[in-house]
Amino acid sequence: MAAAQVSAAPVSTPLVEELLASLSRRKASGQVAAAGQAGWAAARWMADAGVTRAVLADDPLVQEIGLPDALRRAGIEVLTWPTGQAKREALGLEGPPDVCGVTVPALAVAERGTVVLEASAGHGRGIDVTSRHHVALLPADRIVQTLAQALARTFDGSRPVPSAVSLVSGPSRSSDIEKISTLGAHGALTEHVVVIT
Amino acid sequence: MRATRQKGQDDSEGDTRARYPTYTARMRVLLMRTCLSDAVAPSVWKATRRVLQRCGVEVTVPRSQTCCSQPAWTAGHPDQARAVARHTLKVFAGPEEVVVPSGSCAGMVVHAYPEMFKGEPEEEAALDLARRTIEFTQFLSKHGLDPGPGSSGPVTIHDSCHMLRVLDESASPREALEVAGCAVEEMEHTDRCCGFGGVFSITFPELSARLGEEKARAAVQSGAGEVTSCDLGCLMHIVGVAHRQGIPLRARHIAEVLDR
């Protein structure tokens, strides 16, 4: 395993660097990982965050990077979308508190630290907000510079528009009490983006 | 250039003429006294004239002028305002620049006259006057005029809202004071409204006075002891609130500070 990590060092680009800087400005975190290590990297981040259950988007990438396997080895329970959970459990009112939603963004915007999540059969509208933690698995070639570019690509008229597209820029927060930003209002308290090269 | 004394339609009083003769100059302007200066502080327009004359500008103060009509305009009575403004258009007809010792009155002519006379027979005249009208310190700055030494200060400057946001000007009063060698101590939030607001000062007196008090205290905290501004209305309000509240603060219009 150690040898593999050395042999496939992640390749960074200016866009990736800018995205990581923006994420940190948004009080999210990010890291770059080669495809072979991305599953382990995500699982390790979750384990460190105290995650005990992961809800995974049903996206081929999740399997490709071996995430379910890595999670099980880290002792984290794995559920795949749609989970079939009852509403109270899906909302975190029952079951373990430290659930992590794992999404696969369609795009990301480097200059403002935004991931673009599209609803689909395998990707629920609420995966990231219903959970306490959010990990996004982002292939590096999906990063664009500006919001305008991301929106132009998402709504380019070449396919039916998804019913829900969410631009997520950092963990949930509220400034409604004394105008001071406080994290974790309704959505995820933490957000971590694994950029896969 | 310094030569003949002019006799015009000038309604100036003898004393100032004796000390500062009016010169024939390359530059000739009309001075709008403003109704507030007429009502409360004639010394303001007189100081304005003296400073301009010291710069070698020939100043005519049309005797028949009254008011730019802003009180009625901002109170929501455009028809009544237009009737007075029509008179002002006539009084200030001509090719000269019209100098106004008030950012608010200048802003009224520059910004509101075109709207007020849109579609009216005087539309052209209104646009023409709007083009020729300029606030006093902006005039000094535009033509690079040096009136010589004024008060030594220190003073603090209140940026009147219409000067700052209608005329988009905050540099010219500071420049004028610097040229005159007057020390300036800036106050905090100098760009914040003092709460005067014309009719607002009478319709919402408590709110108006609260903002005036904040401004007066900020002015005192600057350490200058005297507040100046391009707008007499703001100063009357600030110093009036200060006097009522027992806040020790002096006030003079910027023309008076530049004058001596």
Binding site: P82, L93, R112, T114, A119, G124, R125, G126, V129, L147, A152, F155, S163, A164, V165, L167, V168, G170, S172, S174, D176, I177, E178, K179, I180, G184, A185, H186 | A39, A41, P42, S43, S64, T66, P71, T74, A75, G76, H77, P78, A83, C161, R165, C193, G195, G197, G198, V199, I202, T203, P205, E206, L207, R210, G240, V241, H243, R244, A251, E256
Partner: protein, 471 residues
């Protein structure tokens, strides 16, 4: 709970506010806590906005934003038709409501027909305007505001004081007391993080029960029939993903042509509103969930409210329709900063509220006709507006349109004034008389009691009778 924010149908302003506008400003001015809270909020906003101007060229983005919005308003009928067609194409329902009552009737009827008991709402000025909460409660439904600030206000039974930050006039310990009362326990933390976490759990219980989610719309994008809902907390996403029915209520002017325009406005909005270059969540919703999707509402209803907006097109007030409800003019306004939004007695406070409330209500409405006069016309609002609405000009025009006993009295006074001041001789006579009066009233250079119109002046301040004034 059933009595909170009660208002009569019709009209935009709240009907339960007490006293005249001026009296309300006096009450607010005496509230030291309120002043402190407002100052904290406005200062923090100012710092954020300065950063946006410095680092992101917010000022340079204004001209394009203004052009986009002005063009949108000119093209409004066509944009709305396109929006309507696209939403229907995506499987949604579109309802055009002429006024708030019609919108409320539709939404309550829908809730009844679907057997809804609990309605979860995300922050929406439009629903506040049309008094939807009252209508739903009258129909026997439980309504829960899920935006933290709005929920706090719901518990406090108060009206919002800011478009974006509704509870900005309350501080942390005031909030903690409200939460304790709601939860029926003293076991509520005092710190901000703890309060936010407490609300999260309480409100998730409501999300679990809600049969209908009601959101506002920040922007409708005509080319795809998408509604954009901008937020920071994540509650709007829950509102638009958890309940079986999603109803989006949109003021008819909130539509842009395409995604190029939307991108620009969506960037400008958070910069102006909260001093950040991005909001945390932007939810772009196009119709109900597709057949193969496992979550999301089965029904999507877009309710487009006119409520007097359409009549403003082509008038001297048309630019007021460009507003994107960012709240920047509120924070920038010295009046709003001094008395807060509640004194205005309308969901729309501050300069934009003082312009549009009477426009939507009619010039003679006692609840809002004084609003345009509560401004010194300092222009800070126009300067702060990210879409370049000339707010101080609109305030002046709104004053000319207002009709009340006060405006009639002032009309008579200014008629006399105009007669005297348009002639130099009568003007000079008036001035001579005035100066005599000043001199007669002055003691040691100051007058503290003036007659007539001067009485309003000397009520709170002295009048210098010599200039420069004596100390």
């Amino acid at each position: 709970m059933s009595t909170w924010r009660r208002r009569d149908a019709g009209g935009v302003a709240y009907s339960d506010v007490e006293g005249t506008l001026r009296e309300r400003t006096i009450v607010a001015l005496s509230d030291r806590t309120l002043r402190g809270n407002l100052d904290t909020a406005a200062t923090s906003w100012g710092e954020g906005r300065d950063a946006m101007r410095r680092d992101h060229g917010l000022d340079e983005m204004r001209e394009r934003a203004r052009e986009i919005r002005r063009q949108n308003i000119r093209d409004l009928p066509a944009l709305l038709s396109e929006m309507q067609a696209k939403v229907r194409e995506a499987g949604g329902t579109v309802v055009r409501a002429a006024d708030g009552a019609e919108a409320c009737r539709y939404i309550t009827g829908l809730a009844r027909a679907r057997g809804v008991r609990v309605v979860a709402k995300s922050k929406s000025m439009a629903t506040e305007e049309i008094k939807l909460n009252e209508a739903l409660e009258d129909a026997g439904l439980e309504v829960v505001e899920t935006d933290l600030g709005e929920w706090i206000l719901q518990l406090a039974e108060e009206h919002p004081s800011h478009i974006i930050a509704p509870a900005v006039h309350l501080n942390r310990s005031q909030v903690a007391d409200l939460f304790r009362e709601e939860a029926g326990t003293d076991d509520v933390p005092d710190d901000r993080e703890g309060l936010v976490a407490h609300a999260r759990v309480r409100l998730r219980e409501k999300f679990a029960q809600a049969g209908m989610g009601v959101s506002g719309v920040n922007l409708g994008v005509a080319s795809t029939g998408t509604v954009c809902i901008v937020e920071n907390e994540g509650n709007a996403r829950l509102v638009t993903s958890q309940p079986r029915i999603h109803v989006a209520v949109m003021g008819m002017e909130r539509v842009v042509a395409d995604w190029d325009q939307a991108a620009h406005i969506l960037q400008v909005l958070p910069m102006a509103a909260i001093g950040q270059d991005a909001a945390n969540y932007v939810n772009l919703i196009t119709g109900p969930r597709r057949e193969d999707e496992a979550d999301g509402p089965e029904e999507f209803h877009l309710v487009i409210v006119d409520g007097g907006r359409g009549a403003l097109r082509g008038t001297e007030f048309e630019e007021a329709l460009s507003c994107i409800r960012c709240g920047a003019c509120l924070y920038s306004c010295p009046m709003w900063r001094s008395v807060g939004g509640q004194a205005y007695g309308s969901p729309y406070s501050g300069p934009i509220g003082a312009v549009i409330t009477p426009l939507l209500e009619g010039p003679a409405s006692p609840a809002s006709r004084d609003l345009p006069f509560m401004s010194s016309l300092c222009g800070a609002c126009g300067e702060a507006c990210p879409v370049g609405i000339p707010l101080q000009d609109l305030l002046v025009r709104a004053r000319a349109r207002a009709s009340s006993p006060a405006t009639r009295t002032s009309g008579l006074a200014f008629r006399a004034w105009s007669r005297l001041w348009r002639h130099p001789s009568t003007y000079r006579t008036w001035m001579a008389g005035w100066r005599l009066m000043l001199r007669a009233r002055g003691k040691a250079g100051w007058a503290s009691h003036l007659p007539g119109p001067g009485a309003g002046w000397t009520q709170v301040r002295d009048m210098p009778t010599r200039w420069p004034p004596r100390r």
